[in-house]
Amino acid sequence: MRATLDGNEAAVTVAYRLNEVCCIFPITPSSPMAELADEWSSRHRTNLWGNIPSVVEMQSEGGAAGALHGALQGGALTTTFTASQGLLLMIPNMYKIAGELTSTVFHVAARSLAAQALSIFGDHADVMAVRQTGFALLASSSVQEAHDLALVAQAATLETRVPFLHFFDGFRTSHELSTIELLNDDDLNALVPEELVHAHRHRALSPEHPFIRGTSQNPDVYFQARETVNPFYAATPGVVQELMSRLGERTGRQYHLVDYSGHPEAERVIVIMGSGSATARATVEHLVARGERVGAVTLRLYRPFPAGALVDALPRSVARIAVLDRTKEPGSIGEPLFLDVLAAIAENGGGSGGSTMPLVVGGRYGLSSKELTPGMVAGVFDELSEDTPRRHLTVGIDDDVSGTSIDYDPSLDIEPPGTFKAVFFGLGSDGTVGANKNTIKILGAEAGLYAQGYFVYDSKKSGSQTVSHLRFGAEPIDAPYLVDKARFVGCHQLGLLERPEVLGRAAHGATLLLNCPYPAEDVWGTLARPIQEQMLEKAIQLYVIDAARIAREAGLGGRVNTVLQICFFAISGVLARDDAIARVRESIEKSYGRRGSRIVEANLRAVDRALEALARVDLPTEATTTRKLTPVVPDDAPEFVRRVTAAMMSGRGDELPVSALPVDGTWPSGTAAYEKRNISDIVAAWDPDLCIQCGNCSFVCPHSVIRSSYYETSRLQGAPDGFESAPLRERGLPQTSYTLQIYAEDCTGCALCVEACPVSAPGEPDRKAINLTDREPIVSAAREHVAFFETLPVAERSRVDFGTVRGTQFLEPLFEFSGACAGCGETPYIKLLSQLFGDRAVIANATGCSSIYGGNLPTTPWTTNADGRGPAWSNSLFEDNAEFGLGLRLASDAQETIARRRLAELRDEIGTELVDAILEARQLTESELQAQRDRVAELVRRLAGIDSPMATDLASVVDHLVRRSVWIVGGDGWAYDIGAGGLDHVLASGRNVNVLVLDTEVYSNTGGQMSKATPLGAVAKFAAAGKTVEKKDLALQAIAYGSVYVARVAMGADPQQTLRAFREAEAYDGPSLVIAYSHCIAHGIDMRDGLGQQYRAVASGCWPLLRYDPMLRATGANPFLLDSPRPRLALTGYTRRELRYSMLESSDPAEAERLGALAQAAVAQRWDTYEEMATRPARRFAADARKEHR
């Protein structure tokens, strides 16, 4: 039976049937495997033996590995799904599992490791980092193999007792949709007989026949005991091959440990593993047909290394071998596969029956899903033909620093002409990807037709570009690389047309379907000249449709997918038109049936209207406009931005050579300002007359696009037309104007500002002092206004009122224009942090949404102020964030100590007055901080004139004399789960660090998996039946230490309290913990109502606002301040507006009622506890026992 699915699903549908327990932790790109397993388990799907596997999400991969080890030792068939950093965290347990000869299969969507940067994309760095653990490593190179070899791995591990790691390329295979043949239960049964399962169980820990494992061994026996496993490893390759053969007999798909394809007397051979082998095989076939004597060796079993099979697979004629590794091991002679192949050949007599060693070179390719194309493979073969080929090469990049890269022909096209290739460009959430996945399923279901789909997303969390690469053909599709020379290009958002890829990937004579709001006869005139020229050059067949209007009219809102999908079928000719239309209708019923008849009807309506409205545009013979392309970045942008960032932004990052990139992963701040995204048709607009200048809109703006300034009115003389201002509503500052400037090109139209605005026009409650308006008519004026606004003087920090929302919004935000979702609940807190302390802050940021919108290239939202100062930010890892931040504090303290010592030593040379002033500076208020900065600047000047090693040493640490603000920022996934141990330790350390937890109550970045912050009764992935454990009370745990400042804040309920907590936390000389309620798209809300939900969370008592201040206790006052009033809203008043709660009401109403009642009772109980704490005398709280602190 055939089906079209992706590599993840192909693997897990086998793994699920062959296991009893899954212990997991989500990590891209493996999460879908775990999520599917969880979904099936919650729907009571059974495994091969009629049992329902149990799926457990742990706090980290380390925890998952531990639980998995325990489950295995307990006798259950257990598996896990992971990648990258997660796999690394499993290493200690992997050694144990292998050492104990325990049967299990880990399924890994192989992904890069974080080195100079994190990457979610695919390569073999992670699996190579575990090759020494004793796990067998089995590599799949396609979706079909990911399915088949999952079975082979499971069967093999039970037979051999060697644990297996089955891997396939992250994204390239894990997320590629492909038509494959499915294995049925009989196939699984045939290879995994129940006796093996029973044998596994019998080896488990049991008091019925007890023994011990995990002994501590000594020099006398450890070595020998380690060597006992040799026979098991020796037998493994044979067992794997035997199983592959048996599978081949049943299915006709015959695999081998090592496969050779190509010329029987090849002289040049490539050895490769993973999806790249499919490209290598196809390229070899093409080259052999042109008479070249080349071949490709595909390795499937990597550990135990099948040396014999490898050597036997090589033709005797081979003289030159290139071993391609998809990883990098700096400092090694070569990468792992290369070294293994070299050793295998050397040990086996230097070549099959021959006496001379072939020349073996090592090459690196494809790191972090860099493409491996036929042209690149051919390039490697060409390099092998050189007189002296490079011994260690790279392919696919331009290495102009070390000269490792080889040349290749990027235009080599080996695809069969019968393959239909299409590329679609859309914006996230417009339905393009969904429609294409649907199209693939429709076509993949046709007998005799094969389909492939691969999707590329960009780095932003909203308004992001999606590119769908689709192929269809009568043969199975073996092309794991992006589509080029597409016959059909869909451009589903007009704004994307100018991106080089759109017309760049079109073949000559291709059809272009363009979604645009103009009538067909006007479209040509709106295009930029280079676009017109390119269209004419490529003889593009242009079709247009106003899909947005049709979708809206049909009742589908902004989702243009159905409209554009039917147009694709109508003009592409992939299926007969009427047949295609019938199938689309069918699939609409099927896909949307469960969403309700109205939605089905709306989509069917859209189909009819789309076909009517689709129009062909005949192109003239020449370009007619003069309009140039919109520049990617302004001409006056810094050099790095123009050279590197702009290339990345326009999709030409692949062209950047090695020399263009920073050597150590350091990236310049403040580059997001050069990316004017213009992603929203509606943007904020200020009404100066209604505005009371309270600053609330600016406070809540997630993208820092609302800024306020006050200045001498005379400055307005140079202002451009239409620049808005109003008299400053403040006494004591005459002749002063106020402007609230909207950065319209950066606004995402989220409307939080409108919701936050407290004033409305008399008689028009919906018209506020800030409203949304169409962007198009105002955007060019807005550009000029922003430019002028930026010339206005910045408020002096020592004169700004830090105590009010209004006052703080005159401070420069040093976090701006991030790629966060429109309406994000986290970023306003981060922005506030940057305004209050950014000019002296170092920030340790955990992996998660905040590290993605904070640091996902090409642009960087953390920026500098007018003086050039700004937050220094780094994302280390996920699990170590608190510790990393503590380290920043330790370093600062250590260097400050050095500085103070040197100052004392150089007191006379520098000047007693200056030294004493610096050493005694209090540095609490902004003016004191500024004064210290001035002193340090003077100190630097004086040190320049002192010629001594002590002075040089002091000069290297002077920065630490200005009081540094150390912040540890992250989400609840880090703080409550994977980083909880570290956070706890750091809070207990007594050191002066400030922790900001952006609590979305779920793993937002990876798509909504539950955390220990998820509340009772909420639905999340891995808690599909509603969470039955109450949310962890992190605040109470921290309060118990007595030396931690703790606050719970929610800016949508009380921005003033939020501000107070931030300032008190930072001023406190010790660990501070601020837990900030962050509404999120994963709550299932109308994001425009995010602040409203914050308010309701507080009003219902489920998110009490509080502060715990140890300084108060020290004075004898009650340190626990309950800042929100008694609950005055039923919990349902808050929860029923959120899909994460209402989902359960639909799927299991009885359970929803039960949990709802328990949750309401829990709110009341918790409130009672807090109220009691708020009335306690100080002595009933733990004292802070630290000796020295301010």
Binding site: S31, H175, F455, Y457, P762, G763, I1085
Partner: protein, 336 residues
């Protein structure tokens, strides 16, 4: 003292029924009402457009942000976008019916023909012993003739009656041109009970915020006069049971309705105002009054003060009106 009675064929332990309200949104709430002593409970109304709106909203929210960012291609378990449908309500019917011994009546406020019949059938399948049709069509369009409005009511009833076998009640509003005739027509179309009356939501104006606010306040005793008048007129002229609704605050209001001829008396406002336990106050008061007046069971008092059967109703009403005016002129607010 026997308070037992029947209502559209259902046996009730007493004539006091909790009508559709937020109190009957949960099993717990239904329990409390039953414990407080009511003879039957009408569940909160299922609104068809609420279900539609919910389905649309849920679908839209479930898709929001999806397929945008590689690490989070979706934010919810896949069931998220599925149409919630009436599952919640049907589950409530099942569980509430199982949880209490008194009849649990479902209430349906539909819009489309398919909606009325589909949901009614589902409610019956879920175990509802009867269905109350909350036919709410305020004729906001001044061009729609009265006859059309009336016909709509009859059509809905007929459609539902053809789709289910359990008894069907119709909750009426009083604003028909000839309410009595409407009642007869519905009776003829197969209504097993008529609930007199529903209350339209009336919009209020806030002159300070200059906004229009929907108003649906709790009823007061004085408002009971209108339904009482019609019940008195319709008693014994219909096959269908008569349920009184509106303005029940104290036991005397229950008594008045019964004397006017109501088979059962419904209340929501008083239970919301004073809590479900207020049902006990009403029943105890009814009991005490019956004892005082010497009635042993409801049969002895029901309809005692209804418009007598066989009388010319129009003349009777007109005469009553004239008499009322005369009394008012001479006794209230002084002579003119």
């Amino acid at each position: 003292m026997n308070l037992a009675t029947t209502y559209m064929g259902l046996a009730l332990r007493n004539p006091l029924v909790a009508s559709a309200s937020p109190l009957s949104r949960t099993v717990d709430g239904v329990h409390r009402l039953a414990d407080a002593g009511v003879g039957a409970v009408v569940l909160y109304s299922l609104f068809e457009e609420e279900l539609d709106a919910e389905a649309e909203r849920q679908s839209w929210i479930a898709d929001a942000g999806s397929e945008s960012f590689a690490e989070s291609l979706s934010y919810f378990p896949s069931a998220a976008g599925e149409e919630p449908g009436p599952r919640r309500y049907l589950s409530l019917i099942e569980r509430a019916s199982a949880a209490v011994d008194i009849p649990v009546i479902a209430s349906l406020n539909g819009v489309t023909p398919g909606g009325w019949t589909g949901y009614a059938r589902a409610m019956q399948d879920a175990g509802a012993v009867a269905i109350e049709l909350n036919i709410y069509y305020p004729p906001g369009d001044p061009r729609v003739p009265g006859r059309q409005v009336e016909q709509r009511h009859v059509d809905v009833l007929e459609r539902v009656k053809s789709a289910v076998t359990v008894p069907v009640a119709v909750k009426l509003n009083p604003y028909f041109s000839s309410t009595g005739e409407m009642a007869l027509r519905l009776d003829g179309a197969g209504a097993d009970a008529l609930v007199l009356f529903n209350r339209f939501a009336h919009l209020d104006i806030d002159p300070e915020t200059l906004t229009v606010t929907p108003g649906l306040g709790l009823s007061r005793s004085a408002e009971a006069r209108l339904p009482r008048t019609w019940i008195a007129l319709l008693h014994r002229r219909l096959r269908a049971s008569l349920a009184a609704s509106t303005g029940v605050e104290g036991p005397e209001d229950v008594a008045k309705y019964l004397l006017a001829g109501a088979d059962i008396v419904m209340t929501t406002s008083s239970l919301l105002r004073h809590g479900p336990g207020h049902a006990g106050v009403l029943l105890d008061g009814l009991h005490a009054w019956m004892q005082r007046r010497g009635f042993a069971d409801l049969g002895e008092l029901r309809g005692k003060l209804a418009v007598p059967y066989g009388v010319d109703e129009a003349t009777h009403e007109r005469a009553g009106y004239v008499a009322a005016m005369q009394t008012a002129n001479s006794t209230m607010y002084g002579p003119w």
